[in-house]
Chain length 336, copies 2
DNA sequence: CTGAAAGCGCTAACAG
DNA sequence: CTGTTAGCGCTTTCAG
């Protein structure tokens, strides 16, 4: 079997507790002893068993990230930020894909609890029942949400200023002269996307000449964007501008638009949300709302670690990151 | 504190071992007893502590995935396949980003060992020293490599038929009439990419009229593709076709080419490798070599689980997936 | 500064 | 079929 702390103790002629102290760099160990122990551990190629350690300390040094789908470039970026931050603090990150399925999400959380993860970072499904919220609040580990899925003060949250992003998109399109506008968004009750839609619709309704956009719900991915754009074209051929709630949806919409013989931006302007790396390479390069994805992931684990550090429940923390518009070439003025 | 197996035992008037047996659905428990225990566990909201369980069983029910960067859509896809397969078998997947840095990779592996993961799936850095290979072989858990990084038979491997993919690209370009050809690839000694280059160069050299392509090494990402294409343009303006070792690099190359005023495919043809989802949305849609990313991730954990199931070292397993060319619109015949 | 001993929560012989 | 017992490998009082 693997070599344990006992072997090191025996081999260096001290007690296991001394080995433990020496290895963990605690005070109260003579430097000679410490060096001896360290040398023996090195010689024996001793590797501590974190599982055993976790059993007694009650902390697993593991965090979890639950996203709907890691293939979404937005989440990949968040994941990288989160993992880097976790790595920096010597924590591991377990990855879960929920597909925004409430039941799957719950199963994941349960399983993660049994593994005694020290914190969970997730973009939760939004339609949480009272019971589910309660269930989640009582799991006993800090949870940071990547969206506003639940009543304020149930969990800590961290996200971009989605509402402001929606407003930005609305003002931009309006100023360009568009009046026949559509918004392609994700499933109903999708925390972040709902806020984007809210900001967008509100800003448009408060414009000098109020506009009421067509709002279509679908899947938040390439496929979803395509389908919605097709549906839109069938129902409202006269639309001149589209705000997609994510870049992936925008890509899908562009694809459908092009297949239908529309030119972008001459016939229809498209603006996205996220500013994923690939938004520069589509043709035309996508105008979009930038949100700091990597930083969100990073900040989220920092909050998690802080929460996990102290003991019990404490006031949830809410952090929102600013967004800004990146003007590229998928939108143009409406000459009417 | 959390409620334990002892509480359940006390509350149902049986011994902890009986509770353990009942909970784990083992034989040799009277159905009345089992039902009683289950009911009590349910009532008490008992949640087993997997850490404790892991300590005694020696298995953590956790796998690890070490990739260079999850933001690379190729790895995101592999990760999703792997995670789905792990989830199906009730295993967790921890995510690590190595940046193909040998030291970071080793640190990860060490840390994962201390956590007693049951298996590691990784795309290893290729320039492993003898010592490192040995070190890795002796970690005691099964490792499946996503590339051919080490001497055969050191580890199990699973990957696409990279060499064949290179050949496919070469034949295609050659048949289109291209004779001034470049290959943009990743770092030297990158397992998979080296094989792609080998197949490509060899096939070209064996053509009826042998061609010797320019081969440039750089980073395997969008940025790297851009930089290499710029470099290429500066050195070999007359190139008519480019084979990029990954779609991300192809995207970067296309971007640089366009910025330099080149039309694709009229002035230069570009072919990629991977067939990531977004390759359909760039303009022009990218011709590329398809490899089954999701399936690779999935198959890798299946192998891992099989290996982890049995006891000790066994003959490593090698599996290679077929590839095929997807013809889109980024390549055209060379009229000369 | 160091050793002895208890115990984290669970499983796994071994009896009965 | 069920209880007793002994740990898994480590940390953590509590003495000394």
């Amino acid at each position: 079997m693997a070599i344990t702390i006992k072997d090191v103790a025996r081999e260096s002629g001290v007690n296991v507790s001394t080995v433990s102290r020496a290895l963990n760099g605690e005070y109260g160990v003579h430097s000679d002893t410490r060096e001896l122990v360290l040398a023996v551990a090195e010689r024996l190629q001793y590797r501590p068993n974190r599982v055993a350690r976790g059993l007694v300390t009650g902390r697993s040094h593991t965090l979890a990230l639950v996203v709907s789908d890691i293939r979404n470039p937005f989440f990949a970026e968040v994941a990288r930020g989160a993992e880097d931050a976790a790595y920096a603090s010597d924590y591991d990150l377990v990855l879960c894909n929920s597909d925004l399925d409430a039941e799957k999400q719950l199963r994941y959380v349960e399983s993660l609890m049994e593994k005694r993860v020290d914190g969970i970072l997730m973009n939760s499904v939004a339609e949480l029942s009272k019971k589910q919220v309660e269930q989640l609040s009582n799991v006993g580990v800090p949870i940071v949400l990547l969206n506003r899925a639940a009543p304020r003060n149930a969990f800590s949250t961290i996200c971009a200023d989605n509402d402001a992003g929606g407003v930005l998109a609305a003002e931009y399109l309006w100023k360009l002269g568009h009046r026949k506008i559509a918004h392609l968004t994700g499933p109903r009750h999708h925390g972040n996307m709902t806020e984007r839609a809210n900001g967008f619709v509100r800003a448009l309704s408060e414009a000098r000449k109020p506009v009421k956009p067509v709002v279509l719900h679908g899947k938040n991915n390439f496929q979803g964007g395509m389908e919605l754009a097709q549906k839109l074209l069938a129902q409202h051929e006269d639309v001149t501008a589209i705000f997609a709630a994510s870049d992936m949806m925008a890509f899908g919409a562009i694809r459908a638009l092009m297949e239908a013989g529309k030119r972008i931006p001459e016939d229809v302007s498209v603006i996205g949300f996220d500013n994923v790396e690939l938004s520069t390479i589509v043709n035309p390069p996508l105008t979009t709302i930038h949100q700091p994805k990597y930083e969100i992931g990073q900040a989220a684990v920092e909050i998690l670690l802080r929460l996990a550090g102290r003991g019990e429940h404490q006031a949830p923390e809410h952090r929102v990151f600013g967004v800004h518009l990146i003007e590229r070439r998928s939108c143009m003025e409406r000459k009417s």
